[in-house]
């Protein structure tokens, strides 16, 4: 078991390196494809009045004139050992793990990211809770009452849910509930949970519901399909034949079996969401990682992009890992 965990963790680290390397290559090449030179990139880090010589010097200081693999190596080194950045008289020390220093905002990337992480986490966690409960519950009831009015209505709504783009649902919800009826918070509201938990929940209510609606719809469908499959299996018939009460059959045996693939997907979805719920955050103007990453990409801010991709990938990979480990615990066949 220990060996298995170790192997998976090594694989995870490797995967992380590959993803960041690929990201680095892509975002390194992207501005160059558009015709930018190292001096151009350096010029973004100084004021307009700097002379070409100063700009060139800064390009050298920041290492933009080095080949790509050297710059990538520097990035990895910074991750492990920290780094120093200087544009002349001032030198900034960026402690490990250093994800980079964005001179556009004059801030190291990691603290900025960590600042915004709670927002995305709040959004993801709250939404996830709601969608898991709502989705699974609906799916189970639908499966058990297959063909009933509830089933048909619920699956109809679920189908609508997965067919709606979230930015449209978000805008609609904002216009109806926030601006027309005035019962939910307007766009751009966010209060940290330590400041005022009630206000925090109120501000996030609409984003949670919008986000959850989309996922709950998908999970309801999945759960229903899974339950229907499972309930047709032999072991269910056996359980019933043994005389177990129906609710035990359904919940303890049926649901548990049906839930496994659901949990796999849940882990992945949550991991993805933590990496930045870009569309939801854009629609509701929430200051989380999603918005941060879109700004970074649009403005070609390589350190920020790397930081965001790294953090996002870590979440996804960790989610994968956790799910795989859970499988290994539950199913001994996996551990070979």
């Amino acid at each position: 078991m220990g060996v298995y965990i170790l192997r998976r963790m090594i694989a995870a680290v490797l995967l992380l390196l590959i993803v960041t390397a690929a990201t680095f290559v892509v975002f390194f090449l992207v501005p160059r494809l558009a015709g930018a030179t190292p001096d151009d990139l350096a010029s973004r880090y100084v004021g307009r009045t700097a002379s070409p010589q100063v700009i060139h010097q800064i390009a050298i200081n920041l290492g933009f004139t080095d080949p790509m693999w050297v710059q990538y190596g520097r990035f990895v080194k910074g991750l492990v050992l920290g780094a120093e950045y200087s544009t002349g008289p001032t030198t900034v020390h960026c402690p490990a793990p250093c994800l980079g220093y964005s001179f556009l905002t004059q801030n190291p990337v990691l603290p900025d990211l960590l600042d915004r992480l709670p927002v995305t986490m709040s959004l993801a966690a709250g939404g996830a809770l709601i969608w898991l409960l709502a989705g699974v519950l609906t799916g189970v009831v639908s499966a058990l009452r297959r063909g009933s009015v509830f089933d048909r209505a619920a699956m109809g709504v679920a189908l609508a849910g997965v067919s709606l783009p979230i930015f449209f649902t978000g805008l609609l919800a904002l216009s109806v509930f926030s601006y027309w009826l005035g019962i939910t918070a307007p766009g751009g509201s966010y209060t940290p949970i330590n400041d005022n938990p009630l206000r925090w929940a109120y501000d996030l209510l609409l984003p949670w519901i919008t986000l959850a609606f989309l996922y709950a719809a998908a999970y309801a469908r999945l759960t229903r399909a899974g339950m229907l499959d499972t309930m047709g299996e032999d072991f269910i018939r056996t359980a019933r034949a043994k005389g177990l009460p129906e609710h035990t059959v359904v919940l303890k045996h049926g649901l548990r079996a049906a839930l496994t693939p659901i949990l796999t997907i849940f882990g992945l979805d949550l991991g993805l969401l933590l990496g930045g719920a870009i569309l939801t955050e854009s629609t509701y103007s929430l200051p989380g990682i999603g918005k941060y990453s879109v700004d970074a990409v649009v403005n070609n801010d390589l350190p920020k992009v790397l930081g965001v991709v790294l953090v996002g990938s870590i979440f996804i990979i960790v989610a994968n890992l956790v799910v795989d480990l859970l499988y290994a615990v539950v199913d001994p066949r996996v551990r070979h």
């Binding site: 783009p165 930015f167 805008l171 216009s175 601006y179 569309l279 990453s293 649009v298 996804i316 990979i317």
Partner: protein
């Protein structure tokens, strides 16, 4: 049960005519015909495709050119379309855009071309890549499987949207002999299609894995068939059903993806109308010109819904276990 028994008694042995065994496709078609909802979805899909293909005709008859400005439809002080609900009238079926008074109906109709074209082509690309790689992986196993599976993992660990945004932002004006809209569409097709192949790849791999253990594969091999022949003649036909189903289900995902990219400003360039782009513009106006937000949004919703309904029905019809 009874029918089969009767067939044996009253069938070919008695009449001398051959048995009409029903293939998977025929069974599926029967089932599909009976599923009214899926059929409805299918009809909607065909209708939408027709709308997209005949957009110029529809717009010529029912609306105004999509790029044409109509300042007279817009209040010069408030920049809002005159009239109720965004200026809906027999002339402007969905009303007019704020500021420039463009015909929302025409733009929505033309927007369908972009959405459907990109979604279809991207799905095609994903399916091609995913099927080829999935089959190879599933059939050969071993190190090929490990390599390609890990590659799929890497793809799935990427923040897709970010990469799409970045790549869509770089394109030069001229490449591969294409320019302008054509180039951007090609780029979007490539990005969406290329990054989505693991979705199909994983499924096909799973199917291929289970298929290769089946007797007919062994039989083919023992008859001396080489791997390529087995792959193409034996496995692919049996994979046709899942390929079809998941392609149909991938299309709505791609429609949503393209809409998201346009919404974030990295799709096709203005002034070409796209549903996502119109929604993005509408975010500034939805409180006083709701038509601008509603119609493109509904267009996306209905299109995706139609494909989902049809895809669901198709999957149910082709799945031997269902019902």
């Amino acid at each position: 049960m009874g029918a089969t028994y009767d067939a044996r008694v009253s069938g070919p042995e008695r009449d001398g005519t051959a048995i009409q065994g029903r293939s998977l496709w025929q069974i599926a078609w029967e089932r599909l015909k009976r599923d009214k909802v899926a059929l409805g979805g299918g009809i909607a899909v065909v209708t939408l495709m027709l709308v997209a293909i005949f957009a110029p005709v529809i717009v010529a008859v029912l609306g105004h050119p999509p790029l044409e400005f109509h300042y007279d439809k817009v209040d010069p002080d408030l920049q809002v379309p005159r009239g109720h609900f965004g200026g809906i009238s027999p002339d402007f079926l969905f009303g007019a855009e704020p500021v420039n008074g463009r015909d929302v109906f025409s733009r929505v109709v033309y927007g369908s071309r972009i959405s459907l074209l990109i979604a279809f082509l991207a799905t095609l690309l994903s399916v091609l890549l995913g099927t080829v790689l999935g089959v190879i992986t599933g059939y050969f196993g071993g190190w090929v499987d490990t390599l390609i599976s890990r590659t799929m993992d890497v793809f799935l660990a990427f923040p897709l949207l970010l990469f799409a945004i970045a790549l869509a932002g770089v394109v030069p004006d001229r490449a591969f002999g294409l320019t302008g809209d054509a180039l951007r569409i090609a780029l979007l097709v490539f990005i969406i299609g290329f990054f989505n192949w693991p979705y199909i790849g994983r499924i096909i791999r799973g199917q291929a894995l289970s298929l290769r253990e089946r007797e007919f594969i062994d039989a083919a091999r023992s008859l001396g068939a080489g791997s390529p022949r087995i792959l193409f003649a034996e496995m692919l036909p049996n994979l046709a059903a899942p390929i079809l189903v998941y392609s149909t289900l991938l299309i709505p995902t791609n429609i949503l993806f393209e809409a998201a990219l346009s919404f974030l400003g990295v799709g096709v360039r203005p002034p070409t109308p796209t549903w996502g782009g119109m929604l993005s513009d509408a975010t500034h106006w939805f409180q006083i010109a709701p038509n601008f937000m509603l119609f493109p949004g509904l267009a996306i919703f209905l299109t995706v819904l139609a494909f989902n309904l049809f895809g669901d029905g198709l999957r149910d019809a082709l799945d031997p276990r269902s019902r």
